[in-house]
């Protein structure tokens, strides 16, 4: 039996930091206000059921893929369509004008087997922001494509790398498989649920980045300018698998 004990939080909150006390008080006040505010409405929690899915449906896979290409190109991004096995050549071609590239650790090795001579290839070994800023381009895979909006979604898995990789370099070469392209936004959202709410076995949630064309601004007289802080060039390689 021991005679010493760690301080414990008593019923009056002693032992909590002033910030914890403040936070708990603020939380309680807000909760009580928002409850009191809606006493005129009575609907049991959960009565709503599942959220509706309002979406366009596709006539065919071919239509979906065509629409995806059309909409990505509409953002002034480049789309190159290749057959399986031709990715390496297409990636090498996309990197023709740059001197350095960073690749995520889990990228398919064959994709970077044919890079032009003289290009500096950095693998992401905890590169600092400043080092990354000196790299001209990045090659990543993708998690999904959305045809109706021309959107590519990254879930930053091993073949896409952490978020900074596809952000700081000025050229983003993104390889998307046609089989990853869904027709409309709600279908993409449903597919991506496992990234934000993984099974116990699948580990931690992953961040998502939705990319629709290169970075852009319309802040000056509503005149659209492509290329601000994110990659100024988005080069999409679509594998028609």
């Amino acid at each position: 039996m021991t005679t010493t004990s760690l301080p414990t939080a008593g019923p009056t909150g002693s032992g909590r930091s002033p910030e914890e006390v403040r936070n708990a008080a603020a939380r309680a006040a807000i909760m009580s206000r928002v409850k009191a505010a809606v006493t005129d409405v009575s609907a049991p929690f959960g009565a709503r059921g599942e959220a509706p899915r309002v979406e366009l449906v596709s006539a065919s896979r071919a239509e979906t893929v065509e629409l995806f290409v059309e909409n990505v190109e509409d953002y002034k991004a480049t789309v190159v369509r290749v057959k399986p096995g031709e990715e390496g050549t297409a990636i090498a071609e996309a990197l023709r004008r740059v001197t350095s590239v960073v690749v995520p650790s889990g990228l398919e090795p064959a994709w970077t087997a044919d890079l032009p001579d003289g290009i500096r290839v950095a693998s992401d070994d905890h590169l600092s922001n400043a080092t990354l800023d000196g790299v001209a381009s990045v090659v990543t895979a993708a998690a999904a494509g959305v045809a109706s909006t021309g959107t590519i979604v990254l879930d930053h898995g091993p073949d896409q790398g952490r978020r900074a990789l596809s952000l700081v370099p000025d050229l983003h070469v993104c390889v998307v498989r046609a089989s990853q392209v869904v027709h409309d936004v709600p279908e993409a959202v449903a597919r991506l649920r496992s990234a934000v709410e993984p099974d116990a076995s699948a580990g931690m949630p992953r961040p998502l980045t939705w990319i629709s064309g290169p970075s852009a601004t319309s802040d000056i007289e509503l005149d659209r300018v492509e290329g601000v802080h994110g990659p100024r060039t988005l080069h999409v390689i679509l594998i028609e698998d």
């Binding site: 910030e19 936070n23 603020a26 006040a29 807000i30 909760m31 206000r33 928002v34 009191a36 505010a37 809606v38 409405v41 609907a43 709503r48 959220a51 509706p52 899915r53 309002v54 979406e55 366009l56 909409n71 922001n129 400043a130 800023d133 909006t149 959107t151 930053h156 952490r162 978020r163 900074a164 409309d184 936004v185 709600p186 993409a188 959202v189 934000v196 931690m204 949630p205 992953r206 961040p207 998502l208 980045t209 939705w210 990319i211 629709s212 064309g213 970075s215 852009a216 601004t217 319309s218 802040d219 000056i220 007289e221 509503l222 300018v225 290329g227 601000v228 802080h229 994110g230 990659p231």
Partner: protein, 514 residues
Amino acid sequence: MTTTVPAPRPARPTPGPLQETTPTFVGMPKFPKAAKEALANTQQRRNLAHATGVIRAKRARVVGELPHWEDLRLAGSQAKDEMMTHLAAYLEQLETNLVRNGAQVHWARDAAEACQIVVDIAKTKGTDEVVKVKSMATQEIELNEALEAAGIRAWETDLAELIVQLGHDRPSHILVPAIHRNRSEIREIFRREMHLVGRPAPDDLTDEPRRLAEAARLHLREKFLRAKVAVSGANFAIADTGTLVVVESEGNGRMCLTLPETLISVVGIEKVLPTWQDLGTFMQLLPRSSTGERMNPYTSMWTGVHPGDGPQEVHVVLIDNGRSHVLADPLGRQALRCIRCSACLNVCPVYERAGGHAYGSVYPGPIGAVLNPQLRGTASAVDKSLPYASSLCGACFEACPMRIDIPSLLVHLRARVVDESGRKSAEAKAMKGMAWMFGDYRRLEKAQKAAKLGGRLLGGRTIHTMPGPFGPWTSARDVPDLPTHSFRDWWDARGGSGGAGTAGSPPSTTQEQR
């Protein structure tokens, strides 16, 4: 949740204190005076007319692409109503999921408390600067001012916010805060100010938007790369997963949300979405309504801390700041559905001419006219005048992706202003007198005879104010020559209550002017 219309103001308890008109906007003149000054600024009027015209056309085109747009509006508004009905439960869910994934959750009852939380975190990190993603919530609580007072510089990184900040100016639009500035003004601001706070503007800077954007890229990049702390808002906070969402275009958001070690997100409690699946609706509604694009260039989503990727210390500050008060009004609460898309601003003929500053708040335009008097109360001159800053033309309701019936809310808030005034003004007396006159047709007929007499005395000349009951609606206009007969006179002259009577010879009524 009811979406119905003007009714006498319901008497409900006020569960939370009202936000006060914040220091920046104290002393703002009431809307008509500020608008009059803005109308005289011809440069701003041209900029606004051009910019809102462009964005209206873009929005119409991409909204027109979706045959199910009305279904999306319904789904979106119902998701927000669900959030409001069970806000406490969804906030708890959100908190649980955030904490489980490594985020720290802070609660703030008002602006001062929220600012203190952010200042304290930044101080703990030992930094004297933060980079900021464009965020309406942080503008609402005047976080930059609070950070500056604590010796911490807050760098706005959205291009338009940068223009506003470097210009020592105020935002005038939710989405395009520098909408009131044209390219040559922006070039001057960059040349004059950039070198004072970092990398100077290039010597050969022109007023081409591409060159100006490039100057901003270079100026801000060093700040992104070195910043230790970032501050953001969130467009959505998803309860059932704990995911926060930031929708943007330039990549400044991604920079702030990814590169610094610590991220603090200030999120209004009404930003909660019940479920992940709801995001499918909102990601269709928001970009098309806001920038008029099928999708905005970048959307970032994070769920707490992601080991090895991005900020390893993630804070979420949930703020009330008057929202629970708005929630307590069964009609007024629909304003909390707002997703800050600014479609209502872009279609509003009043906003297009008066500009954003006249509204005296970070929330301008039609949504500001219904949100500010609810968040802040109607004590100040500007908040009293905002519900009247609309012709009730209804273009805002039509454009709103959340189906917020802004015209009905304006009318509802007008009733609140009148009720709170105690009905002692000259206007109130006139309105009471008119109501009494209309309360019985015989009184109306007497008034018509008096007006007709007035018309005869004036000999049919155009006058500038209508005598009698119609004064309030005609005092700012030339009114027609008064007719020599009312309709009733004509009806009596042809005899009877109707049926097969011939139309007789009506008095001449066509006038060039009405």
